[in-house]
Amino acid sequence: MDPLYGEALSSVIQSVMKVVFGLEVRVIASRIEDDKKAPFEVSGIIGLTGPVQGSIVISMPMALARELTARMLDERDSERCSTRDISDCIGELSNIAAGNVLSRLDPRKASGAQMSLPNVVMGSHKVVWGSKDAPCALMLYESSLGVFAAESNVRDSSASQEKEAHYVSHSSGR
């Protein structure tokens, strides 16, 4: 995985959380995962296709998702936020984050990349299987409202084409 994707996502998450929710967040852990488990109950998922392929997932506990939604809607009582509100909020957060990540990438690599509509999944013990060619960079963030995670499982297709070309030339050389 190009480390730029993880770095771009990390920087975007901090900026988006501050601008949209007025929330300061900081990275408390960052690692490469193989099993791609979205670690919390609520996950917003954006698929990427074209020259940049894979997925970006933002995952958080339901309590934090509810609090963020209440902040966005200026609701004093977070219990007034419906499941639909929470889903829309986390979906839009994922959408904004993925859009910002693409806008920060080298246009020579990212131009023409397409984002899926946001999907929001609720429930624990789920696994979001991404591209098997790209390891999953998992970042854990801490905020005054709780901990959440962002995952980048992204590769650019030029990298896989180079890999295939390398494989072909290597095979034909035998």
């Binding site: 966005m72 839009e92 984002m115």
Partner: protein, 135 residues
């Protein structure tokens, strides 16, 4: 002060758009809301069609964005103010259709705050269709 109608079935999206506009020079504006095209038409009638701009999602239940554009056209109100359509649909043909039907601009979600305010500012500064603004 402007009156800017926000039409989207997601109240999160309406609030997000309002926050973007408030943060980008429209803090003293009024933001009536509607959750679909039918409700938007009701709000417009309440205001005797006196609004300065409309942001409208394309995909909504009951009466969607295209239906809302057609309903405005049928009432000869289409050019009364800027109508900015928002969509997460990336297809070029869908975008062309929206503009051909008479929308002033099309913005793709996730929208960029600078782009939203720049497009709205440009459209508010441009001349309107006077006949569509008649009471």
């Amino acid at each position: 002060m402007y009156r800017i109608l926000l039409v989207d079935d997601s109240r999160v999206m309406r609030k997000l758009l309002q926050n973007v506009l408030v943060s980008n020079g429209y803090a003293d504006s009024e933001f009536p809301e509607a959750s679909d095209g039918n409700e938007a038409l009701q709000r417009l009638e309440q205001f005797s069609f006196k609004v300065d701009a409309i942001f409208c999602d394309l995909s909504m239940p009951n009466l969607d964005g295209l239906g809302f554009i057609d309903a405005l056209a049928a009432r000869k109100r289409l050019g009364m103010c800027p109508l900015i359509v928002l969509t997460a649909d990336g297809s070029q043909s869908r975008g062309r259709e929206v503009l051909l039907r008479g929308a002033s601009a099309l913005l793709r979600k996730p929208f960029n705050a600078d782009e939203v305010s720049a497009v709205l500012g440009r459209l508010l500064a441009s001349p309107r269709d006077a006949s569509a603004r008649q009471p």
